[in-house]
């Protein structure tokens, strides 16, 4: 206990000295630090902040020190988080390496692989992307067809991925490839890492309905990857993929948090106030139907936040199955979609501008424009990371123990295309 308090005092003093003032202000979207070889620092302070935090391993406080992490236990990392929260410090680094790949490598990679990759994740030197979905393998992820064929000490990889977030800006990819073409589809997949600068790798951004392009198509044309880059056992990649998906789902469910009351600066975060503002209401929102819908949305948001907290507390006591992550992911995404639909209603046509044609944004403010883009972006929340429907399948079968139709009609897993669309998706969901 004494140790914790001493740590708190030290941490507070260190943060006081080392966290630049501008890193204690709300973070605009374009100042998020993703790291990587071509890292962009819109605000020079954020580079300083990243370096200082990385030196202490505090970009990943609980990771082992031998790989550059902070080496803190739960209690100490909580103190660090609280102290950072106290001064509203920005996260120094946001990356898929931290939120998805790193935890899996620490658990399943060899010592050499960890030594090679973990320190660079900690320091934000390498930016990772995820090579999972393929044009023909979405909900039915295990139906993936990208091939890795052994040739001497290398694998030769051919195929393509889709919906690869920020592939055009990433340095390395963690990728699911098929290494056994005869085995049932879940048993022939391997998990492999390679450099996006390798010869034969190309990317093409996908323009979305929101106008943004966070996702890419990624193509592999005879890409040569050393055997030593395989993580875990050959043909056992599905196990790793599932672990990683759990991390991803936890991350996406965070979208539903901080909705309603909390202030992230956007119009949609103060729906009621926005709706009143655009109607000239003073005391009460004059549209009774919208008022009721916003109330219902906010009640659900508050209940959702409480459920996230309860789920965390239960996990600590390791009570019950860890199925809540599917419930939270789904509910969080639906809430986010509802929030933006309500935001459109709240601000009317002012929330439907595509871009400003004036110097001073007198036609549409940046905040108003952001609502339209985020509304469109939110539609993807219930598709990425396992669709809404797949998550419902998981809850139905794994949590509620409802019977599996595919098991009853005889599922011929095996090669691709052997199962119906529905049953294949369920198979994936049940096992992921």
């Amino acid at each position: 206990m004494h140790d914790l308090e001493a740590f708190r005092a030290e941490t507070r003093a260190w943060l006081e000295d080392n966290c630049p003032a501008s890193m204690r202000t709300p973070m605009p979207e374009d100042e998020v630090v993703w790291g990587g070889r071509n890292a962009v620092f819109r605000n020079p302070d954020s580079k300083l902040w990243l370096e200082r935090m990385a030196d202490k391993g505090w970009t990943t406080p609980t990771w082992p020190q031998e790989y550059g992490g902070g080496g803190l236990d739960k209690a100490h990392s909580l103190v660090l988080a609280e102290e950072m929260q106290r001064i509203a410090a920005r996260p120094p680094l946001v990356s898929f390496g931290i939120s998805m790949l790193g935890p899996v490598l620490l658990e399943m990679a060899t010592h050499e692989q960890k030594l090679e990759h973990i320190p660079k994740i900690v320091r934000g030197e390498i930016r990772w992307c995820q090579g999972y979905s393929e044009p023909g393998a979405g909900s039915d992820l295990a139906g993936l067809g990208t091939k890795a064929i052994l040739q001497g000490d290398d694998y030769i990889i051919n195929g393509s991925k889709i919906w690869t977030s920020y592939a055009d800006q990433a340095d390395w990819i963690f990728c699911l490839v098929r290494t056994d073409f005869e085995a049932p589809k879940h048993s022939g997949i391997s998990f492999i890492l390679f450099d996006m600068a390798s010869s034969g790798v190309s990317t093409k951004p996908i323009k979305l309905i929101s106008g943004n392009s966070v996702f890419c198509e990624t193509f592999f044309d005879d890409v040569r990857v050393p055997v030593s880059n395989l993580v875990g056992r050959l043909n056992d990649g599905w196990t790793i993929a599932k672990r990683l998906l759990q991390h991803e789902r936890t991350m996406i469910s965070g979208f539903g948090l901080s909705s309603g009351r909390n202030n992230r600066g956007g119009l949609a975060d103060s729906l009621a106030e926005t709706a009143m503002l655009y109607r000239g209401d003073v005391v009460e929102l004059s549209d009774p139907v919208l008022r009721d819908q916003i109330a219902q949305f906010r009640i659900d948001s508050e209940a959702f936040t409480l459920t996230s907290q309860r789920s965390a507390q239960e996990a600590k006591q390791s009570k019950g199955p860890n199925a809540t992550s599917s419930v939270l992911k789904n509910y969080g995404c639906e809430l986010n979609k509802r929030r933006y639909e309500l935001a459109l209603q709240a601000a009317g046509t002012q929330a439907l501008g595509w871009e400003s044609l004036t110097e001073d944004d007198s036609d549409f403010s940046q905040q108003e424009l952001a609502v339209a883009r985020q509304w469109l972006r939110s539609k993807g929340n219930s598709i990425e990371g396992g669709t809404y429907e797949v998550q419902l399948n998981v809850i139905a079968k794994r949590v509620l123990g409802l019977p599996d139709m595919t098991a009853m009609v005889g599922n011929t897993a095996g090669k691709q295309g052997a199962t119906g669309q529905n049953s294949a998706a369920e198979k994936t969901a049940t096992e992921s």
């Binding site: 709706a275 009640i299 508050e302 507390q313 239960e314 419930v327 399948n393 139905a396 509620l400 409802l402």
Partner: protein, 381 residues
């Protein structure tokens, strides 16, 4: 903040569940209904609950209660919601004892609370005057006389009215209907001259009644709290009542859901259990998610209630609980009947009892629309 049960609470929940399953199953309610029981509740079952300490659960020890708090009472209510056993728990323990404890003076508490804790007394809160919950709509008049007050007016939908020995009557001593100021609370002996009770036969087969008061004289000591200033205690009591009722509804929601999922696994059509059909699976998964949210709200609200002075945000929590549980109890009972198919429409099957209870519970102390409206006002829009 703890949103998980501690050891004592888990034990209480288990013993309450065992008791309700064994001694107070839905069959008890069915029998009371079919036999047109004059009391509308089983005195035997109630006596056993009293012996378990449930009647004194949230009453302070100074008044012969057990001081287990609202978390304890909430757990008990949740379990009674699973078997729908009718008792004076809501009318007397949740509402009236709370109001007496909040508004009464020492003498009144000593006089009334021990009797409730011992199970000797049924006390009913006479509040509503319209078919729609509206606690500020109070027209029943109390006029001051030399020695006390004279009450005139009518009350609707008073829970346990015809078996109560005492009423707490919400009356107007000043001002107009709709105003907080001028609301006063009186204890009225059910046997008083001028009190008439009309029992109601509701769809959920639980006790309720209309009462009329014609020139009912009460002494000055019958005033509970200060004249004209009854609203604060009443309002807090109603919030506690809404949270407690939400706990009962949560029990019903879970019971209906579990029975329905079980049925989906057993009932076979087209050669497979109907639970294998995705159309039903998805609806079940959606209900499961909603129920998880309901649990969190009720746990949080009960937890806050027991923090006494430090309790935060009780009015909003009460409205969130009652709005959400009303919405989800409706969803789950409707889906429960639908997924049971034809058998769900039969009186022989229990599911209909939950459907009926759900609607009455939804209306009691305000439905979802009432509470979303109130929540919006509380949150400033």
């Amino acid at each position: 903040m703890s949103l998980v049960l501690n050891e004592d609470q888990t034990m209480l929940q288990q013993s309450a569940r065992d008791f309700c399953r064994e001694q107070a199953p839905v069959a008890v309610l069915r029998h009371l209904r079919d036999s047109k029981h004059p009391d509308g509740y089983s005195a035997e079952v109630w006596q056993s609950m009293v012996e378990l300490g449930w009647a004194g659960m949230a009453i302070p020890e100074a008044y012969e209660g057990f001081g287990f708090g609202y978390s304890g009472l909430g757990l008990v209510l949740e379990e009674t919601g699973r078997t729908l056993v009718p008792t004076p728990l809501v009318s007397t323990v949740l509402l009236s004892a709370t109001l007496i404890n909040l508004a009464g003076n020492e003498e009144q508490k000593l006089e009334l609370l021990p009797g409730i804790a011992r199970g000797d007394s049924v006390v009913a809160l006479a509040l509503e005057e319209t078919a729609i919950h509206n606690p500020l709509h109070i027209e029943l008049k109390a006029v001051k006389t030399g020695s006390g007050y004279i009450l005139n007016g009518n009350k609707d939908f008073v829970l346990d009215a015809h078996v109560a020995d005492q009423f707490i009557v919400v009356a107007r001593t000043e001002g107009e209907s709709g105003h907080q100021h001028g609301i006063s609370l009186f204890t009225v002996d059910a046997a008083s001259q001028g009190v008439e009770v009309q029992r109601l036969n509701m769809v959920d087969s639980r006790n309720a009644g209309n009462i009329s008061l014609v020139d009912v004289e009460v002494p000055e000591e019958a005033l509970l709290g200060q004249e004209n200033k009854g609203w604060a205690a009443l309002s807090r009591t109603l919030d506690i009542g809404r949270i407690g009722l939400a706990a009962e509804m949560l029990g019903g929601v879970q019971e209906v859901f579990e029975r329905t999922v079980e049925y989906m696994k057993q009932r076979t059509q087209f050669g497979v259990p109907i639970g294998a059909f995705q159309a039903l699976q998805h609806r079940a998964a959606i209900m499961y998610s909603e129920i998880e949210l309901c649990k969190s709200l009720v746990l949080k609200a009960l937890y806050e209630l027991d923090r006494g002075e430090e309790a935060e945000d009780i009015p909003a929590l009460a409205s969130m609980c009652k709005a959400k549980l009303s919405e989800i109890y409706m969803l789950v009972t409707n889906e429960g009947v639908q997924m049971h198919g034809g058998i769900g429409m039969t009186d022989e099957f229990d599911i209909g009892f939950f459907l009926k209870r759900a609607r009455v519970a939804q209306q009691t102390l305000g439905d979802a629309a009432f509470h979303r409206d109130r929540y919006a006002s509380l949150r400033g829009f």
